[in-house]
Subunit: 243 residues, 2 copies
DNA sequence: CGGAGTGTAAAC
DNA sequence: GTTTACACTCCG
């Protein structure tokens, strides 16, 4: 199952000699390969909007007893944008806390004889994420450098969003997130629209975007192929002009 | 003036940040540069034979009210030998209490704007030491691994010990201690033998070994030079045999 | 990996 | 409440 933030790794290195022989150092690797050696360094990279106070750097886990015991969180819920500006990697604003590190992570060992430990107590868990996190983005639009807002694209008519008060915008966001993050095929929700409406917590498949499964016809495929061929031709022409 | 234990330093460091900002930590540095961070650590380093119960680690002073209020001291007065085995640095068994830290000590400050404080009340003091500490060693001989006791060496006839009931053995010990520890020339006692006999506390120069000043003739020097030349020749021969 | 600086449980 | 003692962090 896909983990968030995608591509983060955790490493444990055992010290081999010296006064501190046997102690371990813990490192993280961000999706762009940057090595993180300490919690302050991680906080610097992520920016102010991530509250790491409950995040235990050494174990990679959340200390639930410490969650929210700290004072009011700095910054508005939408401050994630700042975090994203600071961090060059693409992190979806699904949670604003260190729970982004909650999932099991890869353990690299430098002692070849030792086996990689699996967290048996918890097993391989699904990525915890809010069911309708897309709603947090409602009313926000991307804009270009002239500050002109980009318009939302239109969806095909046979693509139907499922969920409470979910506009085209939110549906698009859930689709792009799924396409970006999923390692399994993106198929949409298999439960019926009415079942989801009744009890989203039970019936929604969090790994899939908020659209119903839709039929893709042979005709749809051919039409798309035609578009790709057309796009390639225009690219070819553009490159020829260049010379 | 020589201080004992020679080369110990005391440092006060003010915590600059964190929850404990403003608190101070006290560190000691042993003559061989080891950093001591707590009283138990100091006790471990010195060994059992040093009674630190009256020594206040934080201030570096003796709490006189606490002196000897503790139970019977563990170990015999001659247990210093164990202490010396534990500590790699050479500490003379001149006093068996923490008063070895009684002298003013260097204060290093990590805040550059603050001046180094000198203990004006007491000024720079002479090392307090017992006048005839060597008597504590009477009757003890070094021995080799076969447990055969090493014989005491003979002193030149013109070298005279001064002090009550001081044998060749004790005189030798006071000389070797002076040669080992003094930063000033080792010259022997300048007071007359009779004056010292009458009032040792007033007339003995504690920084000098318990011998009268003696005349070293030109002949003495030449004889010694001859011995050195002879010793070198024998070393040379021995190394040649080796090849 | 070392070590200065800080956190923090246990002892007062 | 404060202090002690030492484990741990974090950065060189």
């Amino acid at each position: 199952m896909m983990a968030l933030p995608s591509g983060w790794k955790r490493e444990e290195v055992v010290r081999q000699s010296g006064l501190s022989a046997g102690k371990t150092d813990v490192y993280y690797y961000s999706p762009d390969g940057k090595k993180i050696r300490s919690k302050p360094q991680l906080a610097r990279l992520l920016g102010e909007s991530f509250d790491l106070s409950a995040f235990d750097f050494r174990t990679g886990r959340i200390i639930y007893s410490a969650v929210r015991k700290s004072k009011r969180q700095k910054g508005s819920p939408f401050d994630f944008a700042r975090g994203m500006r600071i961090d060059s990697s693409l992190v979806l604003p699904i949670r604003q806390t260190a729970s982004i590190f909650k999932q099991p992570v890869t353990v690299i060992r430098n002692r070849p004889e030792s086996k990689t430990k699996t967290d048996l107590k918890h097993g391989v868990q699904e990525q915890p994420k809010q069911l309708f996190w897309e709603k947090r983005l409602q009313g926000l639009n991307a804009c270009d450098h002239t500050e002109e807002e980009l318009q939302c694209m239109e969806l095909p008519r046979n693509m139907n969003g499922v969920g409470p008060e979910l506009g085209t915008e939110s549906v698009l966001q859930s689709i792009s997130a799924a396409l970006h993050l999923n390692t399994i095929p993106v198929t949409g929700q298999s439960s019926s629209r009415s079942a989801i409406q009744k009890n989203p917590g039970v019936n929604i498949d969090a790994s899939q975007p908020h659209i119903q499964q839709m039929l893709v016809s042979e005709e749809d495929i051919q039409r798309q192929e035609q578009r790709v061929i057309e796009a390639r031709r225009r690219l070819q022409d553009a490159l020829r002009e260049e010379l």
